[in-house]
């Protein structure tokens, strides 16, 4: 009986059983997700204006799929994101390994330089890329797809690989050198040790880095805006130009597809990597 009485009074860490805290929680949830839900809901709206609800329709999705410019931009975005993710994960992993494993004179300089793309304002990066691709490495605009996306891909890699390297570097810091020594003791050479012991340990970091690079690339607007040409529009840039004329539910529909796609991809990636614990570990690496 005494136990039951005790249980009714919330303990010091039982925050969620106190109503003010609970109200606060819901306020945060609504604040964070209401805009997204509204965006998705109005993509099914009959009305052309995102103000009043006039009935359910899928017409805007149809319109979005028939808008060849939008589809091209969407395809471009996915291609750029995919390629830049692959390259920046490879580059980032190698950079992280270099910084973790070796001592060399330029190491502090390289470590500092690595965080530059993260701290430099995006607008400056964008302008720098614009200057670079007009003055130093003019990227031909008349190449066939997807080679014409090269300039955007290169600029995306240049900032996302830093994030990847820092995530993986963090993960490597938790590596117990005895694993490596154990593998060597059992007869493995350097190459086998790398693939059998070090890469498996890096895996959560690789995955977190890849997710980061993919989403950074997919929703980047500023840098892409400065490096994209008339035929190489990406989805965010295209949406921006559409919004400048009018916000139609077509934009909502396209955005909804993008949201669903990224959420699904993240879920799949987490599934493949094992479980949520891995994601938490990768988070600790940060």
């Amino acid at each position: 009986m005494a136990g039951a009485a005790l249980r009714e009074r919330p303990g010091p860490l039982d925050y969620l059983s106190r109503w003010p805290i609970r109200a606060w929680l819901w306020a945060v949830v609504i604040y964070l997700y209401a805009p997204l839900v509204t965006l998705m809901a109005f993509s099914f709206n009959v009305s052309k204006r995102n103000i009043v609800w006039r009935g359910f329709t899928l017409d805007w999705y149809k319109a979005a799929f028939e808008d060849s410019d939008l589809i091209t931009a969407f395809g471009n975005s996915l291609t750029i994101a995919l390629v830049s993710t692959l390259v920046s994960v490879a580059l980032g992993a190698l950079t992280a390994l270099l910084l973790w494993r070796f001592r060399f004179p330029a190491k502090p300089a390289l470590e500092g330089a690595l965080s530059l793309p993260i701290v430099v304002p995006e607008i400056c990066m964008g302008v720098a890329m614009l200057v670079f691709f007009t003055e130093i490495l003019p990227w031909p605009t008349d190449l066939i797809w997807p080679l014409n996306l090269g300039a955007i891909i290169i600029s995306h890699i240049s900032f996302s690989f830093s994030f990847v390297a820092i995530v993986i570097r963090g993960r490597l810091a938790s590596f117990n050198r005895e694993f490596e020594e154990a593998a060597k003791d059992l007869g493995a050479g350097e190459w086998r040790i790398f693939w059998d012991v070090i890469v498996p340990h890096m895996r959560p970091g690789l995955l977190a880095g890849a997710l980061l690079a993919f989403t950074l690339s997919l929703d980047d607007f500023v840098i892409t805006f400065f490096t994209s040409g008339p035929d190489t529009t990406t989805f965010p840039v295209k949406v921006y130009s559409m919004v400048r004329f009018s916000v139609t539910p077509e934009v909502n529909a396209a955005s909804t597809i993008l949201i669903v796609l990224t959420v699904a991809l993240t879920a799949v990636a987490l599934r493949v990597s094992g479980n949520a614990v891995v994601a938490i570990e990768a988070g600790e690496g940060l």
Binding site: N176, E178, F179, E181, A182, A183, K184, D185, L186, G187, A188, G189, R192, D196, V197, P200, H201, R203
Partner: protein
């Protein structure tokens, strides 16, 4: 019986880290089938010596031979030794069976043969049926068994163990001691282990090397280390000891007498002391070798049959009693301000009541009990 064959030889091995001499001119031979312990306080160089044998460090000077072959420059993956790491280093992303099979896989052993040997190794460490588990589903003790199986499956010439029991809790540690000894007997492989725990070394090893500050202090069987230490460091490091500094007053071939300011009486020894040159000597006396006798009215001084009366009999007063269940440790104040520790086994259920605080007692010991140390 064939003569024991030397399997490992350290020849004047030194290891320098910058100006620090971690291992200082160590020469040591280990024989086939031994269960050998490298014992010493942390930072004494024992782990460095083990790592040099495994190949993770290269000696700055000297040679290391395994089966007569110089391996000083051989990389770890080419040496016929395997190691059980202090953290066990069981690969977390592989199953138990994959962990054990790893060394064989690297060596290119065929799959069928591999499976058979893994099965065998797991049985050896009593982990049958655990092959499909992941390391995070195992207890610390089981992980250690995996590490053992993983090293033994390669049939090394020597198995190296780095602080094998330090990560286990007290009960498990004791069980593992005898199990390791049994395992070693069963597989017949030479075991070399590093430990800072003297109990562990005494309990498991057939022979121990005691190290201090990079130097090899003494190499002997556990009982010789305990009973016949060759230096103050070894006497003090192994077990508990009463140390009396003094000088030799009499030194004849069949007896000697040491006078120490720490004791009111002279210390009589029933043997001569060789190698003493008039300098300071130290007499090391283990607490369990001292008997306690009642002193005072109605209690005549004890007479020890083999001890010339009056020699090794010192009066004192009990100042402190530590009751440890199986035994009690009495701290006895003697004239001159020193304290002497005496250990008494509680052989009956009333033994601890025999002596009490502030009781006058006689300390008595045989003439052959103390070890005389010159350094």
């Amino acid at each position: 019986m064939t003569a024991p064959k030397t399997i490992i030889r350290f020849e004047n091995v030194s290891k320098r880290y910058g100006k620090v001499l971690a291992v200082d001119d160590v020469s040591l031979s280990i024989e086939e089938g031994e269960f050998f312990a490298l014992l010493g306080p942390s930072g004494c160089g024992k782990t460095t010596l083990l790592r040099m044998l495994a190949g993770f460090e290269t000696p700055s000077e000297g040679r290391i031979l395994i089966d007569g072959e110089d391996v000083s420059r051989t990389p770890p993956n080419k040496r016929p030794v395997n190691m059980v790491f202090q953290s066990y280093a069981v690969f977390p992303h592989m199953t138990v069976a994959d962990n054990v099979a790893y060394g064989l896989k690297v060596d290119g052993v065929a799959a069928a043969e591999r499976a058979r040997r893994v099965e065998e190794a797991l049985a050896l460490v009593k982990l049958e049926g655990y092959g499909a588990r992941k390391p995070d589903q195992l207890s610390g003790g089981q992980r250690q068994r995996v590490a053992l199986a993983r090293a033994l499956v390669k049939r090394p010439r020597v198995l190296l163990l780095d602080e094998p029991l330090s990560a286990l809790d007290a009960k498990l540690r004791e069980a593992m001691r005898s199990e390791l000894a049994q395992l070693q007997e069963k597989v017949g492989i030479t075991f070399l282990f590093v430990t800072h725990d003297q109990d562990e070394a005494l309990a498991m090893a057939t022979r121990c090397a005691v190290m201090n500050r990079g130097l090899l202090q003494q190499v002997a069987t556990p009982s010789d280390l305990y009973e016949f230490p060759n230096s103050r460091f070894v006497a003090d490091f192994i077990g508990s000891v009463n140390m009396f500094e003094g000088r030799l007053d009499v030194d004849e071939p069949d007896h000697a007498v040491v006078v120490s300011p720490d004791l009111p009486t002279r210390i009589f020894l029933d043997h001569g002391v060789t190698g003493a040159h008039g300098g300071a000597v130290w007499v090391a006396l283990r607490p369990e070798k001292i008997e306690l006798h009642k002193r005072g009215d109605g209690w005549p001084p004890p007479v020890l049959e083999d001890t010339p009366s009056g020699c090794n009999l010192a009066p004192g007063v009990i100042r402190q009693i530590a009751y440890l269940g199986s035994e009690s440790i009495y701290e006895v104040a003697v004239e001159g301000g020193g304290t002497v520790k005496a250990l008494r086994s509680n052989l009956t259920r009333r033994d601890q009541e025999d002596f009490t605080w502030d009781e006058p007692v006689w300390l008595a010991w045989h003439a052959w009990s103390p070890a005389v140390l010159l350094s």
